[in-house]
């Protein structure tokens, strides 16, 4: 089992691309185990991973990975870290087993060990039968798997997975998430899963760090963050006086300190702090001339935590 000390700490880290700040004074601590790095596109998740790998030098701040200073010992860190990049990436002109073995050798494994590990890891990620095919002929899902294989071949203590299910079909996605979960729970590898997909993070991770616009906006154990400090209601409304009444209703909810956001299914999720009940919601709807057609108490989800943290409606 991994130890419980933080595997990564960031202390007031700022990263700038010209005038644009990709990370702004970020201080965070990643516990051992599987930690989700959650946020919308452009939140700074990938930038954080690249800074931790030493690809990007921060403008200010300090970072430690596995107890080592990123600025002082980048090679020692990279020998203990595996990185699965977000975009397609491979060494051109190689078949899968040569590619993964080559990555093992680059990480310091002797050639024979690297080749043996390459075969094992390719079977583990489900590419055993396709391991002699040129990587350039792989489908998107297979390319995701080979990126995981090259990140695992040198047996890292810590894995950075940047959008690991990008472009995968539902079956492939489920298999990838099972692999990630297995690595964290059964193989003793610490994981950082960067994703904008809440279900992926919720399935694979115990902890989450939520980022938005280059800042950490929430962090902690997922179970703890989902603990209700109030009640959540699912709400569907009818707007007899036109769509502008919805804005009035949402405005009145906010004035009363009630968080609300729309889901994909055109259902509002309203967070009522404390012991507040549905009565207050009915009263506000009536005062805004909005008809409540459906109201159901719900369980807080990671999506609620995320929406609350990034302040979306």
């Amino acid at each position: 089992m991994p130890d419980r000390d933080p595997v990564i700490t960031l202390d007031a880290v700022t990263v700038r691309y010209g005038a644009q700040a990709a990370l702004q004074d970020v201080s965070a601590s990643f516990a051992a185990g599987a930690v989700g790095l959650l946020g919308p596109n452009g939140a700074g998740k990938s930038t954080m991973l690249k800074a931790l790998l030493g690809f990007i030098v921060p403008t200010s701040g300090k970072m430690r990975v596995l107890g080592l200073d990123v600025a002082a010992a980048p090679l020692e860190i990279r020998s203990r870290v595996g990185y699965m990049p977000e975009s397609d990436a491979h060494i051109p002109g190689m078949n899968a087993v040569s590619f993964v073995a080559y990555c093992g050798q680059l990480a310091g494994l002797p050639p024979a060990d690297a080749m043996q590990r390459a075969h094992e890891v390719l079977f583990y990620v489900g590419l055993g039968e396709a391991r002699y095919r040129n990587v350039e002929t792989y489908s998107t899902g297979m390319k995701q798997r080979i990126k995981l294989a090259q990140a695992l071949v040198h047996d890292p203590d810590l894995l950075f997975l940047d959008e690991p299910t990008n472009g995968m079909d539902p079956k492939g996605r489920d298999e990838m998430l099972e692999l990630v979960r297995d690595l964290a729970l059964n193989k003793g590898i610490n994981l950082i899963v960067s994703s904008h997909l809440l279900p992926d993070v919720e399935f694979t991770c115990e902890q989450v760090i939520v980022m938005d616009r280059g800042r950490v906006v929430a962090s902690g154990p997922i179970a703890g963050m989902k603990q209700p400090r109030g009640r959540v209601y699912e709400l569907r409304v009818k707007l007899p006086d036109g769509p502008e009444t919805l804005d009035r209703f949402v405005g009145s909810l906010h004035r009363e300190g009630l968080e609300c956001h729309m889901t994909d299914e055109d259902v509002m999720r309203v967070f009522v702090p404390g012991d507040g009940g549905a009565r207050a919601l009915f009263a506000l709807a009536a005062s805004s001339a909005v008809q409540v057609r459906h109201l159901r108490p719900s369980v807080p989800t990671l999506e609620d935590v995320f929406a609350k943290a990034v302040g979306s409606e």
């Binding site: 990436a89 002109g93 990555c103 050798q105 002797p110 079977f123």
Partner: protein
């Protein structure tokens, strides 16, 4: 019941090499990949053609009295290396154009640099591929020719009379090869298309050579030969082989230009070889 062989993930408890050796992994993999290509093998075979012709010349000079006019001189070795320039060009384009460009196309840089190797190691590994191959068509046949001369002559007279030839062949081959390799590697880092890189390199060599020729015709002097990469290398080569420089140009100028080109290449590589491309 446990499986006979578990194909699941296992932790690794074996040895790991110390940092600083990944460049050799890159270099050996690159060379192996090239030697698997028939076209490249054919090119290398052709590149050794002049060596065999010169070897026959040395044999005839040593063994046939009527071929005494073919007796070796230091100029022979300088001319041999000049002949190899064409093969240096073709090998540089064939083997060098895709060295970084292909990695950039496949986003391989972030794979490389997420492993325990520095950017410098990556560049040294790539440079070693090209330098190694180019030395195979310059320094190796040059030195072998010297050995062949000794073997055919059956004495060390020519070698001892021209002791500077061994360091001259070595030094000029290194200058020639390092210049071509560093320029090509820098160009390769600027694009994702190896074809485009090859065309740019060829353009750089031929355009500067043509420009030098035009300036020579216009000014009736070879003092402007410094605009050509090849002319500068020829100038340095003549000085190293203790021959009269062919252009009316101080050799130190040529040396400074070649050093400047290498410095510029190093600068470009420092800017371009990164794990992440930042477009600010």
């Amino acid at each position: 019941m446990s499986p006979i062989h578990d194909q699941g993930y296992r932790r690794y408890g074996g040895q790991r090499a110390r940092h600083g050796r990944a460049w050799a992994v890159i270099a050996s993999a690159g060379v192996r990949t090239l030697f698997k290509k028939r076209a490249f093998l054919g090119l290398m075979f052709l590149a050794w053609g002049p060596f065999f012709v010169r070897a026959v010349q040395l044999y005839a000079a040593a063994n046939l009295p009527q071929a005494a006019f073919l007796a070796p001189t230091p100029q022979l070795f300088r001319d041999f290396l000049a002949q190899q320039d064409a093969f240096v060009f073709f090998v540089t384009v064939y083997a060098g154009a895709g060295l970084i460009a292909n990695d950039r196309r496949a986003n391989a840089l972030q794979i490389y640099l997420s492993k325990p190797l520095s950017r410098l190691e990556y560049v040294i590994g790539k440079l070693a591929i090209l330098v190694g191959l180019l030395l195979l068509v310059t320094w190796v046949p040059g030195i072998l020719l010297l050995i062949v001369q000794i073997l055919f002559a059956g004495n060390f007279t020519f070698f001892l009379d021209n002791l500077y030839l061994f360091p001259a062949i070595t030094l000029f081959s290194l200058v020639r090869v390092l210049t071509a390799a560093s320029i090509m590697l820098a160009l390769s880092s600027l694009s994702k298309s190896s074809r485009y890189v090859g065309v740019i390199y060829a353009g750089l060599i031929f355009f500067t050579q043509a420009l030098s020729g035009v300036l020579r015709a216009v000014t009736s002097s070879s003092s402007m030969a410094w605009v050509s990469v090849e002319s500068n290398l020829n100038q340095i080569g003549d000085v190293i082989f203790r021959l009269s420089p062919r252009a009316d140009l101080p050799w130190i100028v040529s040396l400074l230009i070649v050093a400047g080109l290498m410095a510029l290449s190093a600068f470009v590589l420092e800017r371009r070889v990164r794990g992440v491309e930042v477009v600010a």
